[in-house]
Structure formats: C-alpha cells, structure tokens
Symmetry: C2
C-alpha cells in the first residue's frame, strides 16, 4: 500500500545513469534563477511602509529616499557578485568562498545561516504567495496556514518527483510576473501623468513629520533591503549556464539587477503616490493593483502571477538547500543521509527536511510574513558579508592584474552588507536576537558531528585498531514463554548451530507456575538446561537482562560470545501486530544497547 501511494505520487524510480543536466541559456536562466530576487518586490516595499506607518501616514514620503538607499545597496551587491562569478566559475556559494578564504568557522557560519535561510525562503515566499491569494479572495483569509502548508506539500512532491531547475514551464510565470507588474507600473504612471489620480493622496516629499528618528529610518531601510534577498542565486549556479558560463551569468546578473531595480522603484513610487496604507488583510501590491485597475481581470492576473512567482521563489529554496546540504554532508558537518539520492535522483532527504522545517515555521508563525522577514533578511546579509570579505582576502592573496579595483568593489560590498546587518541587529533586535543564539549552536553542532564521524572512521579502520581476539566459543540463551511450536522452532535452530552451551530461560510471575513449568520442561526437553527466573515487578525484561548480564560476565572471561535467540511472530495481516505484545522488539532493543550481546531473531510466520 505504502509503495503504491509512493509510486503514484513520485513515479517509477530512475536508474543512476539517467542523471543528466541540461544547460541553461540566458533567457531561461534569468527566469529561473531570479524568481527569488524578483519575487521579493512583492513584500519588500510593504515592509518599509509597515515601519513608517508607526509614525503616521505623513512619513510615507520617506519611502522615496529609503528606496534610493536600497537601490545603491543593490548596485553594490550586483557589482560584488559579478566578481564572485568570474572568480568561482564552478559555483561560488557563500559557504565555499568563506571556507576557502576565511577558514572553517566563517565558512560554517555562512553555511549554517544559508541552510536556515533557505528554510525561511520557503516559509516567507509561500506565506507571501498565500497572502496574494487571500488578498484576492478575502473569504479564504482564515485558511491562510492550511493553504500555505498545502502549497509546500505540493512543491515537495514535485521536487521529489525530480522537478529540475531546467524545466521550461518554470520560466513562464517569471516573465508573466514581470509583464504584469510592468503593465501595472506603466498604467499607474500614465494615470498620474494624465491627472486621473488625485494628487492629494500623499504628503509631499519633505513634509516635516513629528516623531521621526534616524533609528526609525534605518529600520525602514533595513526592512526594505529584504527586497534584495535572492540576488546571490545566480553566482551559485554558474555551472548550469551554457558556455562561456561566467560571461553569460554575469550578463544575466546585470539584467536581473535592472529588472529588480525597475520593479522595486515603480512599486515604491506608486504606493507612495496612491497613499497606500499597509494592512493585515490585503497586501500593498494588491491595493496598488486594485487602485490602478479596479477588481477586474487585470487585477486577478497580477495577483495570480504574484502568487505563482512567490511559489517559484520557494522552489529555488528546494533547489538550493539540498545541494548545500550535500556539500556540508560531504565535508562531514551534517548527517551522511543528506548525500543519498532518492528514487527519482533528487536528494530526497534534504527535500523532505526542508519541507518539514518550513511547514513547522509557517505553523508556528501562523503564516505571518512580516514576522519572518527580518529573520530571513538578517540571515541573508550574514553570508553576503562573509562572501564579500572572503573575496577581499582572495584578491589580497592572489593579486591578479587590476586587483586593487576588484578589492575595492568587494570591500564596498562587504562594508555595505556588514552595515545593513548591523542596522538589522540594532533596529530590529527584538525580532532577530535569536540568530545570535541559533547560529553559534548550529556551528557547534557542525563541529560535534564532524568529530563524531572522524571518531567512527578511526574505530572502523583496520589500520588503527588491533584485530579482535579470536572467539573461543558460543553460549546461546533462548528465552521461552511456554511449551509451544515457536519455542520448538527456536530451540531446533539453536541446536543446529551446535554451540558450547544452550540455556533456556523462563520468567515466571507466580511461584506455582514456576514449579509446574519446570516439571513439564524436564519431560519435554530433558537435555536442555532450563533456568527459571521470578519477576516481582511483572517485567520480563528486567530479570532477563540481569540473568544475561551474569552469563555475559562469565563468558567474557573466556572470550565466549553470548547469543540470545528471540522468536518473533510475523502475523499474516499487519493489523494483527497490535494483538501481540511486542516484547521481542523491546528485548532486542534493550539487549543490543547494553553490551556485546548478539541477538538472533527467528521469525515464526503465522499462516492464518
């Protein structure tokens, strides 16, 4: 049954040699790799307004200078990442760049924050996509969490089936989204120019505002910079580009930067001009769209493409997380299981882990985007800073021609990213303090895991360990629960191994049954030694393990091995399992974990 459902959802398994990767041309790459960055404009401008609205609507004109600041930051990041592309043509994630140039711990900090960040990418993008849907259909609003979780499950299944980044179908929504927002911004500007929109919906630029402070403005700027999450995606995926890969990637990066800048500026300006006030039930983007077009076809087109690109942005998390996890797992910083390819050749453990973690986040935060975005953004700027600093170290070490300019560009990138990170910590400490706790914890865990794997390696290696002393003989213990066919079966098997000693053990709860059983046994199996144990506490495990310990102590002296033979009922129908006390399972677990006792399970298949 389990397999049928699995096959239905995921399809037939693929052979290992069916693994192949398609190369991306620029048009497709732009669409696929920039969905995360471009989709950020769906929530970035809103975040600025959410901060400013605490002072009052008069402060909304500050969005314009703040947006200029964000655009400068964007330019710095694009130029810095352009250099990463040429320096690491095989894909330079922040983890690789930081580890190679700054050392193990900075690399782990970058890797750890990226892992967490991809989880947040999924949670934030899906929550924002759900907001786009429920803004259009307000009666779905109280099903937000359910819709978001269903979307995550859907993407998970698609990714487990092996939805590759190169699937052409993923390119359309991105271009449709750009098209839809482009039309909206153009239409809005035309309306403004033609005077169709009243000019008094907003306070003019420069209006003095009571209660505004540098702190608040920095906070709004930090919030707005969340629109830049995702710009690093292209630099991680250079091997997927057609040759000459670095050149193509760099041009794609420039195009993405331009699109992002245009959309972001347009939305910020329209929101300002139309005097949009953020509210919980409708996104800013939805408000702009309905102000511009009314709730007509065009409105629903914008909401639909927004929802789609946000879901696609979540999908980039599903591409990036498993790959980073493989890198970390190969370096032994996380569990080995993340390197295993599933039936459809995707790294299924990574996919499932990401899915579970993001669903958990969505449920805990009740799908409230604005609660997750600060965490997400600060988690992005930490690896940004580390990667740029890593590049600086690289230029200083390698000193290629023109390295001074390259160094300065990355230096500016590093300084700006670092400043933004600090602005986040200073202005939004209440929302991001947890990063300061969980990042060190993650790095510590990485180290602990690596240490464990190294210790295991040493213990397994034949070179570092002494050969085990020879086994001199075997003692077989057979716990018996009655005089039945099952016991006969186990005893026959034990005898066939011709060990040095067989001991049958019976645990009695009452004195009388003890005597009776001994008498019956001596009649049935006179040549096998029976030990009866009395259990005061109605537990089979306790007296049994105590006895086995005694035997094992004696056996150890003469290098004998102790084997416990346990029968296991295998019922014909699986629901019958609940009708049998699973003592054998419990006994096996307890014995294995205690000491060097070998446990042999003899199945007894019930035929009806």
């Amino acid at each position: 049954m389990y397999y049928t459902i699995k096959r239905l959802l995921l399809g037939q398994p693929l052979k290992s040699n069916e693994l192949g990767e398609q190369k991306l041309n620029k048009t497709k790459a732009l669409a696929i790799l920039s969905s995360d960055a471009l989709s950020s404009v769906a929530y970035g401008p809103e975040q600025i307004l959410i901060v400013l609205v605490t002072v009052g609507m008069a402060a909304f004109w500050y969005t314009i200078p703040i947006a200029v600041g964000v655009l400068v930051l964007l330019l710095a990041l694009i130029l810095s990442y352009r250099q990463v592309i040429f320096a690491y043509p095989h894909g330079g994630g922040a983890y690789v760049v930081s580890k190679e140039n700054l050392g193990e711990n900075p690399g782990l900090i970058a890797g750890g924050s990226l892992l967490v960040d991809y989880i947040l990418t999924v949670a934030v993008s899906i929550s924002a996509g759900t907001d786009a849907i429920t803004s259009a259909f307000p009666h779905l609003h109280h099903h937000n969490v359910l819709i978001a979780c269903s979307l995550v499950v859907l993407i998970t299944i698609l990714n487990l089936r092996g939805l590759t980044e190169s699937a052409s179908i993923l390119a359309y929504p991105v271009y449709l989204f750009v098209l839809a927002l482009g039309i909206m911004i153009a239409a809005g500007l035309v309306q403004i120019a033609s005077g169709k929109l009243p000019a008094d919906l907003h306070a003019p630029i420069g209006t003095p505002v009571a209660g505004i402070s540098l702190f608040l403005l920095l906070r709004a700027f930090a919030s707005g910079s969340s629109a830049l999450t995702g710009v690093e995606a292209i630099s991680n995926a250079i091997p997927n580009f057609k040759d000459p890969a670095p050149n193509n990637a760099s041009r794609t990066l420039a195009a993405m930067g331009l699109l992002l800048a245009l959309l972001f500026s347009g939305i910020v300006f329209l929101a300002y001009y139309e005097g949009i006030v953020p509210n919980v039930r409708e996104t800013v983007l939805s408000q702009i769209a309905s102000t511009t077009f009314g709730r007509g076809l065009m409105y629903y087109f914008i909401q639909a493409t927004t929802a789609m690109i946000l879901v696609l942005a979540a999908n980039t998390g599903f591409s990036a997380f498993p790959l980073l996890a493989v890198n970390l797992a190969k370096d032994k910083y996380i569990a080995r299981m993340f390197t295993v390819r599933g039936d459809r050749l995707g790294y299924s453990n990574g996919i499932v882990f990401l899915s579970a973690a993001s669903i958990l986040l969505i449920i805990v935060f009740e799908g409230r985007t604005e609660q997750l975005i600060p965490l997400y953004a600060v988690g992005v700027f930490i690896p940004f800073t580390l990667a740029q600093t890593g590049m600086m170290v690289k230029w200083m070490n390698d000193k290629p021609p023109g390295w001074i300019i390259k160094l300065s560009i990355n230096c500016i990138g590093a300084l700006i990213s670092f400043s933004v990170m600090w602005i986040f910590f200073i202005t939004k400490f209440a929302q991001v303090w947890s990063v300061l706790i969980f990042l060190p914890c993650i790095v510590l865990i990485f180290h602990r895991i690596k240490k464990h794997y190294q210790a295991v390696g040493e213990q397994l290696s034949l070179n570092t360990c002494e050969p085990a002393p020879p086994i001199e003989g075997n003692v077989i213990i057979v716990p018996v629960a009655g005089i039945t066919h099952v016991v006969e079966n186990s005893l026959n098997y034990a005898k066939s191994l011709s060990p040095d000693q067989i001991i049958a053990v019976y645990v009695a709860f009452e004195r009388e049954t003890e005597k009776q059983f001994e008498a019956k046994w001596n009649q049935w199996q006179p040549d096998i030694r029976l030990v009866t144990l009395h259990s005061h506490y109605r537990s089979i495990i306790q007296p049994l393990t105590k006895f086995i310990d005694t035997v094992a102590n004696k056996a150890e002296e003469s290098n004998f091995r102790v084997t416990v033979v346990i029968p296991q009922f295998i019922p014909k129908k699986s629901w019958h399992n609940v009708l049998h006390n699973q003592s054998s399972l419990l006994i096996r677990t307890v014995l294995l974990y205690r000491r060097d006792i070998i446990v042999t399970t003899v199945p007894f298949h019930l035929k009806k």
Copy 2:
C-alpha cells in the same frame, strides 16, 4: 531520561504481591460510586431546557412534568439494579449479565457500548467540569479544550500512579457537592417562600405553548434522562463492599437514588422558578447559583464542588474501563495487552487508551458537552436494556422463590430502558445515528480478534501441529559495506558458528568500485566467498533481498536454514543515531517479513 521522568510522574514500581484491596463501608461507597450519577445533575436539567428553548421560554413549565417522568424512570432503574446486586454478588456488569443469559452477541453489544460509554463518561464529565470552571471565570472560556485536556492528563497520571477507588480523599468532594447543592436548593426555596424572588420570572404551569409537540417533549425527556447515567456503577462494584456486601450495596443504591432524586428535582424546580435560559457561556447550575447567592463565596463554593465532582465522575470511567477491558481481553475479544498490569499495578494500557480516546473526543467536539451527551446517553440505555432483559431470562430459567415479582420488576426496567433508547433514536437521530454504525463494527472487530487468537493458539500448540522437520545445515550470509572493523567482527562471529557455508555480499553502486572491492577482498579474506551485486537504483535492500531469496530457495530444498548476519552500530550517545543510516533496521524488518530467514544482529559499540 525517559525513566527519570516516568519515575517522577508515576513513582517507584510496586511488587505484584503488594496488590491489596480495601473494602468500602457504606458512607465511603456512596461517595465514591455515586459521583458519576450525582454529577449528572450538573448537566441533565440543562439538557431539558436546551430542547424546550427551541420553542420558546413559555414552554419551560414542561420541565416539571418531564422531571416527574425522569424520576419514575430513576425509580424503575433503582429497583431493577437492586435485583442485579443480589443475583450477581460478585459484580454484575451489563457485559457479564448479558453474555451469561442472552448469549455471546448481546454480551458483546453491551460490552462494546460500555467501552465506548466510559470514554464518553470521561469526555462529557471533564467537558462539563470545565464548563463549571469557565462559567465562574469567563475569561478562561476560549481555553476550554486546553483545560479539559489538561484535566484528563492529570487524572491519567493519578490513575497510572495507582489512585485506587478506595482513596478516602475522593469521598470529600461528593459530600461537599451534595452539601453545596443542598444549601443552594434550600436557600432558593426559602427565598421563594419568603417572596424575595419575583414570581413572574416564569410562565405558570399549564400555559399553552404554540409549536409544542409530543415529539419535542419526548426529546426533552430523553435529554433529561441523561441525568441518570452512572446509576449502574454500584451494581458493578459489589465485591468492594464490606460484608454482607449485597445488603450494603443495595442500601447504598437506595441512598444514592434518593439523593439523585432530591438534587435533580430541586435544580429543575429552581431553574423553572427563576426562569433560567440556557446559554453557551454559562451553565444553568452557575446561573441558579448566582441568582440565589450572587457571585460571592457561596457561588464559587458551588462551582468548585461541581467541577470537582465532575472530575471525580470522569475518574469512575478510569476505574471501570480498564476492568471491563480486562474481562473482554481475558475472553480474547480485545488485545491481550489490556490484561497487563503496569509498574504501579494499574492496568496501564487500558488507562492510557481511555485517556487518549477521550482527549481525541474532546478535541474533535471542541469540548461542547451538549454534542456528546446524546451519544453518551443512548450508549448507556443499550446496556441498561440488555442487562434487564438478561435478568428476565435468568429469572425464567432459574425460577427462584418469588420469581414472578422479580421478573416483573426487571421487565418494567427493561421496557422503560428500551423505550428511552427508542425515544433517543427517534427524536435525536441526527446526533446518535453513528451508534448504529460503530456498534456493529465493534462487535465485528471483537469476533475477528477472537478468531485470530484462536488461530494463533492452534498454530502454537504442539498437539495440533506436526513437529518441524530437522534442520540439516546452516548458510550464513554477511552483507558487507567495506573492509572495516565492523565487518571483521561479523565475519569472526559467523565463522565461530562453523556453518556449512558463509557468503559475504557487497552491493556496489558503480562498476569500478565493484572491481576494486573484489580485489581488496581477495587479499583480505581469501577463504570467504564474496558475491558482489550491482544496484541500478541506489537501493541496498532490493538487490540484497533478491539474492537472499535465491539462496533461500536452494536452501529450502535441502532443509538448510539461512541466517543473515547484520552489524548494528551502537553509538555512545543516542543523538548520534541520526548520523548513521539505519539500513540495518530496514534490512532486518524487510527480511523478517519475507520468509523464514533468520536475522542475527551483531552490535558494534562505538567507544567515542
């Protein structure tokens, strides 16, 4: 860690011989065994009003004749159960009485509905107790479900610790409740007599009411009879009484009937006179109390004792359910695990099952008492009817002196119970139809389980089966993952058993590693045959089981046994387990369920 928490919550385990039962005197027995019945007055009168309010407040005077009907029903039940007490002095639950006199299926219907009923007792009593709490503290109202579930968990822990029915502390709340309600009723009557209460709060008896129908009145009567749930408790617990047990029990039953009648009539009358209207946020009892005393000390005393007696009523479910489950399990109708006594000598599996099921019900019904009560009541009147009918059959068969009178009393009891049951089905079909589905299902499951246990018994018995053919020899298969210390360990063990053949199996994912491994192996263990298998789908299990099947087929012909030796890492810290692929666990499960293949687990304890 698990054990520390367990010991902290449940205390040290008790020895089997520490089991002892205290006998109850009448005062204590009345308190302990009648909490379920007496507590029903907290929600019974309210149920009548909830039905009548659908026609209008003018119809409220009908509560008086309906209450008289309920009192007649109570009298009939008390007289009938008095006879059960004398006929079954060792405890005559409906299950035993029905099974002995009416046959297996009626017994199972009674047993099944009682099992479900005890679950409902817990859910209804706890929900009603929570209502008493949140009526007093309205701001807790939206935490209803959480409070109810916490109370269930608390009672569960107390019962797992071994809270016996004889604990004296349980007697106080019952008498306090009777005292509190007694004072309230007396005070109310004094206020009425002294004219302090306005006499125009209610429609006078006999007021004509538009829209009233026989159907509605019967429905109100059925609802009111839910106040009688729990009257059977004394007849089940006769062995707990001091000698002469039947006489003491019968007097306790009479006393309980009297108290129940007084409290019920008093509450119904006050509710009628004070013109109380049922509402979701405050119970009728709480309204009467606050009308009579205002929200003073006395009010909170009444609410507190009500909450306490309702929690105690839930506790009677915790005493009765595990005992009935033991009876059914001994007759092999439900899983054997219900007969096992836990650390503190309580039937812990029954307790935990009851707890989980009632929490589930509370969550599904969101703690809404009025949704559960009809199900609960109909589930009570089915075993009532069966038990009384069983008694009739008994009198007709045994014909003791005066049997005609006994027969008539039980006959009246059976007829009234039967009618009430029908009234429920006719007037509240929408709420109780599910009984018609789940009761047959439960009985079917009982039969299936019994059949399975009988089949197992036959297959285990040495008398009915032929002795197994002798084992001619052993083949040992050792799956190997590399040339390591673990493999050496497993091979040494396999060799020490000196089987007829040892085969090492290696599953390779790539052709190159296959060749390399074979070369290394032949150098390391030249005398052990190595079989390498190629896995196209990156699965270890599939090629391995296929190979083992081939070996097993050949082995079966010559009556050889196949043993698969699997190494199992036992890490030093349990969190390390997640770092190792649990392939051995998976292989073991798959192999055991396939055919007669024996699985030997050799632990490899990691030392760091």
